[in-house]
């Protein structure tokens, strides 16, 4: 179940994000550790480690800083949901956990357009990527019990 068990997911996701941000290709990604944390390789130094860290870096590189929020409050809220994505969505190991996360998010989003209220941010993008396979899985579970008997 754990998204972290899917190898290379982080790098794939970051490549998608690059495309979305209109950045030229060319960044190289590696993975690190058992959780397969993505690493952005740079020419100088040890590179950047961590999905949300690299994502924020790409956003700034693309000069789309508004995706990280404008006010201190927005920035903190974006930070909070990025953290939620890597600790809860990726960290949840069972179907129950996933169920709780979906329920929590549903309640939270009841009176909001986006995670940070009315502005679309990086938090929405990464949350979408993070939940995408869960949602797809949900659909296939429903389609699973077939009627050939």
């Amino acid at each position: 179940m754990a998204a972290s068990a899917r190898p290379g997911l982080g790098a794939e996701e970051l490549a998608l994000l690059e495309k979305l941000l209109g950045l030229p290709k060319g960044n190289k990604y590696g993975v690190q550790g058992e959780r397969k944390v993505p690493v952005l390789q740079t020419n100088n130094g040890p590179g950047l480690t961590g999905l949300t860290t690299i994502a924020a870096h790409l956003v700034k590189q693309a000069k789309k800083d508004q995706l990280l929020g404008s006010t201190a409050e927005e920035k903190a809220v974006v930070q909070q949901w990025l953290e939620y994505r890597v600790t809860r969505v990726d960290g949840g190991c069972s179907k129950e956990d996933t169920g709780i996360i979906l329920k929590d998010l549903n309640i939270y989003l009841e009176d909001k357009v986006y995670l940070a209220g009315n502005i679309f941010t990086l938090a929405d993008i990464l949350m979408y990527y993070g939940l995408h396979h869960v949602m797809m899985l949900g659909k296939s579970i429903q389609d699973y019990w077939i009627t050939d008997q």
Binding site: P46, A56, Y144
Partner: protein, 906 residues
């Protein structure tokens, strides 16, 4: 803005330190760890910051970030990286370390063990960059966040290994800064820490990400995601082709089973249930069911296996019960031993022998061990102050005294052990002792007793333990409990009691006393085996040839790991000592504990009255076996697992595989031409099979069950993708493909029948019957081989599982939810009120109900015809509807009673 923090909560520290460091104008609100949370998405002890706009931040790191942002300090790549690392790597490690300290009482370097990698990571970064702080030469949000998580675990830099020089310097300068110091002073007050500790004790231990990969969830996906190598695929195809001939011949031991030279000889015991207690589901999964599953697995592996158990029958409780029921203690034991045996038979527990402790062999063997200990100077004599109840005129056995725990002040501590803190208690040390029978206050009287000199035996115990741990599989809790027992210091332990119902002490001056049950009871394993075969010593005095597995719940660990081994080591008679001690955590019931006095929970004798087959109980109990941490039985989860895992996954696959053979190929397994895809599937199944073995060899029973479900999931997908029901109608090539898919699938079903046998023996034999699997295939190897070759005839295929309905489950939940009045234990009561739910499909019940429905229907028509009073008619109609509902339930349908048309028109 309002900042809510819980004193004692570890995350409180960093937010307060950050508020201080960034001089944020916050209004502090203190809350306890168990109060309601301000932020809906997080537990109450996690800090929450309510901003003036109404937005609530519930992540401690985001709160810290906000304080620094508000002061104009923007995050950098480096601070972001530290914060992400802290949230994903450091925090889980720190909570594991904190849990080890507060709950398990670990100290020093052992306590920070879980942090090792993280500490090295910080040290490396600091020394490589050569900066004073984590993200540069000035303090940033990163420093506060990392320090705030480390401090509750480390307290001061002296607990850091000295080689981490840069880390030590950084940590010290952080701790000395004003903001951090102030935060620590206000958060980590001793009283708040205690409160936090008690909160933490109620939580399941944190599972570390790195541990998770190896222990908790051997995810089905993990196997399937792993790329297969070409070698694996070729090997799997070769193994398949070798067929059933490649399987070893199932080993049929002679009866009685005795150790065989050159074979693996496995001796399995499950903790002896006390005869007076009807076991509840927790007892069943903790002891007999776990041991049974493992014993069945061992037999399938062709290991020469003996599984024994029996009732533990001596002690005051039996004496008292006998008085209550007007029988002799022996008669009571006879009666209850039968009840136990019946329950275990119903659960299909495959004991080679189920015995009891009240036999002449028990006396001979116990007295022999005693004499040997006495002769070797391992027994001490001492005067004991013991509680005597003057009203009841007896010395009170430990479990007949209740009072306040001298260690943790829990008010309902038993005379031998406190249920809350788990410490062993000397009954006279209890505060405010009460006689459990008459509630009178007992008095302390001196009496002579014998003691097992554990301190003297310790020097033999330690090397043996070291050896057993190095070579055997002891569960983590068993090791931990044993270690802490020894660390607390071994004291001489009383082995005699002033009772009548027990094994008599064969020594002058003590002849009116009996052995204390914990000296006596484990000897029951030996005496029970002796009643099974007079050659029992070939099992029990044969450590060279025999491997001993003890199964139990964790409260029994010290008796099996320290006291009993000490007795046997001291007796110096080449006894077989435990090699693998397998202890479970506790199983709770719904949201609480099983309680016989309150009637909460399902007890062994009631399980069969639920109408749910024994194998479903076995499956669900094993599925949630408290391996590693407590788990809870839940009715709705039982229904869910039955309907999703058994019915939709496992049952669906096996049924489809068999049906295709019957419907499309006239009951004969068709020819198979394997494609590369099929071979890949064989390799996947082989991977799961190997994983199943790997886990069961380590007695990870719950985890291995996941592998079985995983194989059938692969099977369902395989059928789904290949659609044999469509291809069978196609051209020659399509028909051949349909044949191959059907053949592979039915062979997977055959493999599943064998893998399931330890878990669900009846279902396994039902599959065996339906698919006509040869008995010689009921053996486990490490390869998936074709056991049902082309031309094999299958029998009649029918569904294996029944759907559980919501109303049925709700009724059961209500029935076992507890009754208020304190009554005598359920075992002596008449069976629960006639169940509205018989076992679904019980033909007798269906017939009876059908007749009653017909009778009542006629009566109602008669009343209407005679124009009887409306009230009377309504009442009889209601009765009729009730009967129809019961009938529907008995037939296993959902009881939808159509509303009579006449009423709707009104």
């Amino acid at each position: 803005m309002r900042l809510r923090v819980a004193a004692g909560g570890p995350a409180a520290l960093k937010v307060l330190a950050a508020a201080g460091a960034a001089a944020a104008p916050v209004r502090l609100v203190w809350g306890g760890p168990s109060e309601r949370s301000l932020a809906p998405l997080s537990p109450p002890w996690v800090p929450a910051l309510e901003l003036d706009s109404g937005t609530v931040l519930f992540s401690a790191n985001a709160i810290c970030q906000f304080f620094f942002l508000a002061r104009g300090e923007e995050p950098t790549d480096l601070t972001n990286q530290w914060l992400e690392w802290e949230a994903t790597e450091l925090q889980p490690a720190a909570s594991a370390a904190l849990y080890a300290q507060l709950v398990h009482g670990k100290k020093g370097l052992e306590a920070v063990e879980a942090l090792g990698k993280s500490l090295a990571h910080i040290e490396q970064n600091l020394s490589r960059r050569g900066t004073a702080y984590l993200a540069g030469d000035s303090k940033s949000v990163a420093d506060v966040v990392v320090w705030g998580t480390l401090f509750p675990v480390l307290q001061d830099e002296t607990s850091l290994p000295s080689e981490l020089q840069a880390l030590r310097t950084w940590f010290q300068s952080m701790t000395l800064s004003e903001a951090c110091r102030k935060a620590a002073d206000s958060v980590l007050v001793p009283k708040a820490l205690l409160e936090f500790k008690s909160y933490l004790q109620k939580q399941p231990p944190p599972c570390l990400a790195m541990e998770r990969a190896t222990s908790n969830e051997p995810e089905e996906e993990e196997g399937s995601e792993r790329a297969l190598t070409e070698e694996e695929i070729t090997a799997a195809a070769d193994a398949w082709a070798r067929g059933a001939a490649a399987l070893p011949k199932p080993w049929q031991p002679q009866k009685p089973v005795l150790p065989v030279e050159g074979m693996r000889n496995v001796l399995i015991t499950s903790a002896l249930p006390y005869v007076n207690n009807v076991p509840h589901l927790g007892n069943i999964i903790g002891c007999v069911l776990s041991a049974d599953t493992f014993a069945r697995y061992c037999r399938l592996r062709n290991w020469n296996t003996l599984y024994v158990c029996g009732t533990d029958e001596y002690g005051t409780a039996t004496e008292t019960k006998a008085v209550e029921e007007g029988l002799t203690p022996q008669e009571i034991c006879n009666k209850y031993n039968t009840i136990h045996a019946d329950i275990y038979r119903w659960f299909d527990i495959s004991f080679d022998y189920f015995g009891r402790t009240t036999t002449p062999y028990q006396t001979t063997i116990a007295q022999d061990i005693f004499q040997r200990l006495l002769a070797r100077g391992f027994l001490l004599q001492d005067t004991v102050e013991q509680l005597q109840c003057e009203d009841c005129q007896r010395f009170l056995a430990d479990r007949f005294v209740e009072g306040t725990c001298p260690f943790c002040s829990y008010e309902e501590a038993r005379g031998d052990q406190c249920d809350k803190c788990g410490k062993l208690i000397n009954a006279v040390e209890l505060k405010n002792p009460q006689c459990k029978l008459c509630r009178g206050v007992p008095v302390v009287k001196p009496t002579q007793h014998l003691f097992l000199d554990l301190p003297k035996l310790e020097e033999r115990l330690e090397p043996w333990l070291e050896q057993s741990w190095a070579t055997g599989d002891w569960t983590a809790n068993a090791r931990y409990i044993t270690r802490s027992w020894i660390r607390d210091g071994l004291k001489p332990r009383c082995i005699t009691r002033d009772l009548k119902w027990g094994t008599p002490v064969p020594l002058d001056g003590f002849r009116d006393k009996v052995f204390y049950v914990w000296f006596d009871a484990p000897i029951g394993y030996l005496s029970i085996t002796a009643n099974y075969t007079d050659q029992w010593e070939r099992w029990w005095k044969n450590p060279q040839q025999v491997e001993l597995y003890n199964f139990m719940a964790k409260d029994n660990v010290p008796f099996h790991s320290v006291i009993f081994p000490c007795s046997l080591l001291g007796a110096e008679d080449n006894y077989t000592l435990v090699n693998h001690l397998i202890a479970t955590e506790y199983l709770n019931y719904e949201d609480g504990k099983f309680s016989k006095s309150r009637g909460v929970g399902v007890f062994g004798d009631m399980a069969k009255d639920t109408g749910i087959p024994a194998d479903i109980w076995r499956f669900y109990l094993l599925y949630l076996r408290p391996e590693g941490q407590d788990s809870a039985f839940s009715w709705s989860d039982l229904m869910l697992k039955n309907n999703s895992e058994l019915l939709n996954n496992l049952g669906n696959f096996i049924n489809r595989a068999g049906m295709f053979v019957c419907k499309f190929f006239g009951g004969t397994v068709p020819d198979m031409v394997l494609t590369p895809d099929d071979k890949r599937l064989l390799a996947r199944v082989t991977l799961e099979l190997r994983q199943y073995h790997q886990l069961l060899e380590k007695v990870r029973i719950r985890d291995a069950l996941r592998c079985i479900l995983s194989i059938s999931r692969h099977g369902n997908q395989y059928i789904q993708v290949n659609e044999p029901w469509k291809r069978i109608k196609g051209d020659e090539k399509d028909r051949q493909r349909a044949g191959t898919v059907t053949g592979v699938a039915v062979n997977m079903a055959s493999l599943l029948a064998v893998l399931l046998q330890p878990y669900m023996p009846s279902v396994s034999s039902a599959i065996q019957g339906q698919l006509c699997i040869p008995p010689d295939c009921f053996v486990l190897s490490h390869d998936f081989t074709c056991t049902l070759p082309p031309g094999h005839h299958v029998g009649t295929v029918s569904p294996l599982f029944q759907k559980l309905e919501n109303n049925q489950i709700e009724a059961l939940r209500k029935r076992f939810g507890g009754r208020q009045a304190k009554q005598s234990p359920p075992a002596s009561e008449p069976p629960p009120a006639p169940a509205t739910l018989g076992p679904p499909g019980d033909p007798q019940l269906i017939q009876e109900l059908t007749e009653e429905v017909a009778k009542q229907g006629n009566y109602v028509r008669q009343l209407k015809a005679n124009k009887a009073e409306k009230a009377q008619v309504d009442m009889e109609v209601a009765k009729l509807l009730q009967l129809k509902k019961q009938l529907a339930l008995a037939e296993g349908k959902s009881p939808e009673i159509p509303v009579p048309k006449g009423k709707r028109k009104k």
